[in-house]
Subunit: 331 residues, 2 copies
DNA sequence: CCTATATATGCTCATAGTAAGCACAATTAT
DNA sequence: ATAATTGTGCTTACTATGAGCATATATAGG
């Protein structure tokens, strides 16, 4: 075993897959592109395909090729997220299939480029993570179901393990006076998974779970195939982090927009309400946008000025981004 | 081609390698663990080994196993960085070898655990990135060599490509009034690579370069095998980002330490000087440390109080970290 | 002992950024 | 006309940050 050289024969049991969480914001709602399952019994999943070592010069190029073939889309902004390689992340592995690694990517698409297709749908992010949408106050599902269930899961154990579980819940969900960090999407999903509160957990383990847990799983968001919901959680967490220090939000906006549209887009991703006046001041002070001089087609109130993104900011400031003046979450 | 199913035969030409940038801080100098090359003609590299899909349950477990076998170290803090898969990242691929992917990791080790071994050495980070060490003012090599060379490389071209190169230089090196962002380690390395200013560039391309460029390469840091310097640049960038919003610096400190030792460790990684009084205020205000009541063995001046890390902070604050009050870089 | 030097620690002050909210303007729906 | 909706300017209190002064306590060397 020690310092054995690579053995191609032993290593051929690996498949490298490229998967993409492709995000857009339409009508103030955050959307993600999902490939429709082959039959109604199966679950939907992210666009993905195998990496081709002879055809693809880079991993990213392979991803772009695959997405283009599967959905017809030409991706713009693309960023590598994480490589997933846990044993049995794909159930087929149990049946003797090769070990599947998946290199996950986050891609952003402008609203204008969004079109439906025969194979893929645009689905609201929060259908998979209903507990992450705090735009209209703390999600009801937290107090009504998730936190009690997590507390029960914590109390299944004793001693140091119980303490560890308490700590993790506290950190992820901001209980016991700790604060809710909107970036900890993955931590929250993984806790729900471990506590058996999402469908994938009971499916992956193959165990029967108690009936009222099954009922609970029906309301903890829609399930995805394999570990794609985990990949998606990683993507949302990264995206929430990134809009705070890089102007990626503009990858999702049309060429011109009102400040309120911009705010709605940020809120859609961040999952919380923003203070309007402060948001405008922030965006203006950072020099992120410049007025076009035109006014928007009215949308119910006083007409708003149209702005465009100032590409020059990246040269001027070290970390231009929307450092959300998020209102304190009242739980 | 279109939507072709995975073909195991075609895909078997992939090797997945796990590589680790293992960092520590000893004597106020940032160190990285390097595996010694087999002969003096070869270049050193990061500890790494192939991923074993049958033996390793997770990628991270595989990494820990490999590092332990190669260096005898049991890693503590480990974090996945990035997966590298560019064609010909390993020169052996040109000779018909399989396509090598590498999943890069960042690991942190306490000073107390650092011991040399027969196979591996602890090397100062900045031996590979001399332009990143601004602790004693802006590195001389920037003005004397790097920036003029980059300007020449920029001026090789005309029109939009020239503008693109100017923008990239400006963003990465903070020229023309822009500010130096200590996290953009990878962008800087890649610019030097593209401009042919590091040894790996001429080696990888196989071209002869003009003699005075070779001379220049001698002072732009030590070369590493394959693309390991790129992986290392990714690691340093990530580490510099992370210490600002997560208390990872304490993964590198001994159980108790003086505030000045802590400051020196942060400076070593961040690559710039800090304002002492403000640093102390910051660390105290964030509640990152607590006094032990003991005093340090003197180190030349008034004895300092010994502190320890307060593990509880992670529960109290959303993003505890050392938000460096870095002094403005005088170039 | 005295002095230079190095580190440790407490404190001030000016400035910038942030959270919260008041006030008012310009439009549409009823 | 009036309510509702959205846009925009401005104030106020508070907090964080950058810079520096002042002083405390040690060591090293004459």
């Amino acid at each position: 075993m020690k310092s054995a050289p690579p053995e191609p024969a032993r290593l051929s049991g690996i498949v490298v897959e490229l998967s993409a969480a492709i995000a857009a914001v339409t009508d103030e709602s955050p959307k993600i592109l999902m490939v429709r399952p082959p039959d109604t019994a199966a679950r939907a999943g992210l666009p993905c395909g195998p990496f081709d070592p002879t055809g693809h010069r880079t991993l990213e190029e392979g991803l772009r090729t695959w997405v283009n073939e599967q959905t017809g889309l030409a991706l713009g902004y693309v960023e590598q997220l994480y490589t997933f390689g846990n044993k049995f992340r794909d159930p087929e592995e149990r049946a003797g299939g090769p070990r599947p690694l998946s290199v996950g990517y986050l891609a952003l698409l402008r609203q204008t480029e969004v079109k439906s297709s025969a194979k893929a749908d645009w689905v609201d992010f929060y259908r998979y993570f209903p507990w992450e949408d705090g735009r209209k106050g703390a999600p009801a599902i937290l107090d009504s179901l998730i936190l009690p269930r997590l507390a029960a899961w914590r109390d299944e154990t004793k001693g140091p393990e119980k303490q560890r579980r308490r700590d993790r819940i506290l950190l992820a969900f901001g209980t016991e006076g700790a604060s809710w960090d909107n970036e900890r999407v993955l931590e929250r999903y993984e806790l729900l998974y471990e506590a058996g509160l999402v469908f994938e957990a009971s499916f992956d383990s193959g165990q029967k779970v108690e009936p009222n847990l099954v009922a609970a799983q029906m309301v903890t968001g829609a399930a995805l195939t394999k570990d794609h919901r985990r990949i998606l959680a990683t993507a949302l967490g990264r995206l929430r982090a990134k809009i705070k220090y890089r102007p990626v939000i503009f990858e999702l906006m049309p060429p011109t927009f009102t400040l309120f549209q911009l705010q709605r887009a940020v809120e859609a991703l961040a999952g919380g309400p923003l203070h309007k006046q402060n948001f405008r001041r922030l965006v203006a002070n950072e020099g992120l946008v410049e007025p076009t001089g035109h006014m928007s087609a009215q949308t119910g109130g006083r007409p708003a000025e149209l702005f465009r993104f100032r590409r020059e900011v990246v040269h001027e400031r070290p970390a231009p981004g929307v450092r959300l003046p998020v209102r304190v979450r009242k739980s």
